[in-house]
Symmetry: C2
Subunit: 333 residues, 2 copies
């Protein structure tokens, strides 16, 4: 046995690509079995975990740096919706036989860029082999003032239903990605197509307004599975109902053009998912303050409906008539 | 759209099988996007993450309750080796097409039994679809007094190298599982075979002595990839070398019988992995106190060698001559 045996392939892969992302003191340079984290004094830890599978949550030929970024961003989006600022994350990465080191390098590079941009360093994790597709599981940690985590439960009749940004872009981007002929049918410009596809590839977590939520909203979550279905979840947790006016759902220019060309796409917009915008309920008295404070951080907030007593969701068309959807949101099973 | 739309298949699966495991108040009944956790006053959080892939880390036909238990236990073993007591865990579960609900039920049942036994409730997680094999990622949280987490770094020349329990049983159990004819060649009794296979199927994390480690050991880790390779990792982190006397490595009766029948199996014993025992370095002055305190908790501790200056690992046979191993430990790549 050599005096100083070389590290295993696994250890070397981690050292080369992931150690540079692990500058948090509690990561112990990824040379220990566990990480250590102590939330700031007076804060609770908020913890969220999301798994992404190649061929299910991203395309195997997506650029690896966008895959790395997306894996972190979907978790940052959850933290933001709970009012938490990021502290760090763990990565469990299952790589298939014959993975390319350049894929891992690109993945780590995109992940590292976003870890830096969102001030959310790598704390530790696990790297294993899989006989299936590349599978990424990120667990992210955030801090929120003690007892101030924003919940799905808390919405009350009379509250406004609000969303950040625009809805449906990512779902339309995914459609364009799956059906390259669709863009021409919808008469979308190259810029519009790129914009929609980018929204699918690179979610923009609303971390900038996370700290505004605890004092402004009665309930919130991020829109990951589709506005309609996610609002139903918020309503169920809050034991209330909601009404949305489809005409008030904020659309990007590109999404507006797509829906104008094919009105049936409105269903994809409201139930398609991957928006990673924040959906919240706000009392009318707090709405303007939230809208102004968010605008200062560059985040538009739009009221799209209201919370009512009862249960379920009513989606109203421009004439105020209830619309029906074939499905509310994305479900894995 | 129905007034009260039913939950999605995903939501219902979670509610049926996993909500009963989520009695921690910070789990919010698995009805929120994130969990909340605040470590006890004066404690640091210790965090570890392990991924298990069907066909890689367990056999697809292993009883699902043992798979659930093992997924948690390998993480509990990491916490124990760091001196931390369990607080809770997150589960990210990727299920293949056509998974059976009875598998999920069995998995959740085994997981729940161990979550209860080790006082480590489910806090949250994610359930997704995969086109590959079932993949389980558990992130476990533990608490240790501030600054008291036990590290891999810290071993010093003159320290004894110690291990808990017996080494090599799981590796031999795995061999028997892969090669049903082997047991007869080794003349193992049915009881001995069962014992070895059980060690592979059901690791026994040494949580009982976690709280003894911070005051007794200079460095520790759990033995998951093989005693030899894991000791090399501990030495590398501590910038020291180590010497192990093969004859002092504690073996179960079953492992002793197997090695007596085929001495070449000693290599599997020291480099095979899946032991989930604790490997630590201890000053000679603290050894007896650790051994006695651990014995009171039913955990045997055996000195198997010593830490020396330099780098690397020397494994000595019964005549004190260096042995060589074809490989030090398991590596995924």
């Amino acid at each position: 046995m050599p005096e100083q045996p070389p590290g295993s392939g696994e250890d070397e892969l981690i050292a080369r690509h992931f150690r540079p992302l692990a500058h948090h003191p509690g990561a112990f340079d990824l040379e220990d079995d566990a990480a250590s984290l102590t939330p700031p004094a007076g804060c609770d830890l908020v913890i969220t975990s999301d798994a992404l599978v190649a061929g299910v949550h991203f395309f195997p030929d997506d650029p690896p740096d966008t895959v790395g970024g997306k894996a972190l961003r979907v978790n940052l989006s959850d933290l933001a919706a709970k009012g938490a600022r990021p502290l760090g994350f763990l990565l469990a990465l299952a790589l298939p036989s014959g993975f390319s080191e350049s894929w891992v390098s690109g993945f780590a590079s995109g992940l590292g860029d976003d870890a830096h941009a969102y001030n959310c360093p790598l704390l530790g994790g696990d790297t294993v082999h899989t006989t299936g597709p590349t599978t990424i599981c990120i667990t992210a940690f955030g801090a929120v003032k003690q007892g101030q985590m924003v919940h799905r439960a808390g919405a009350r009749p009379g509250d406004l239903v609000v969303v950040t940004g625009t809805i449906g872009d990512a779902a339309l981007g995914l459609l364009l990605r799956k059906d390259p002929g669709l863009a021409a049918c919808l008469r979308l410009s190259a810029r519009q197509q790129d914009e929609l596809k980018r929204r699918y590839l690179q979610p923009q977590p609303r971390s900038a307004i996370a700290d505004l939520l605890p004092e402004h909203v009665s309930a919130a979550m991020d829109v990951s599975d589709g506005l309609a279905g996610d609002l139903v979840k918020l309503c169920r947790a809050s034991k209330v109902a909601a009404e949305i006016e489809a005409a008030r759902v904020p659309l990007s220019d590109a999404a507006r053009a797509a829906v104008a060309a094919d009105p049936a796409l409105l269903e994809n917009v409201v139930s398609g998912g991957d928006d990673y915008e924040i959906l919240a309920s706000v009392t009318p008295a707090r709405f303007e303050s939230l809208q102004q404070a968010a605008a200062c951080k560059g985040v538009p907030v739009t009221a799209v409906g209201r919370i009512t007593a009862g249960s379920g969701l009513r989606l109203l068309d421009q004439a105020g008539k209830p619309m029906s959807l074939a499905r509310l949101s994305f479900s894995h099973f």
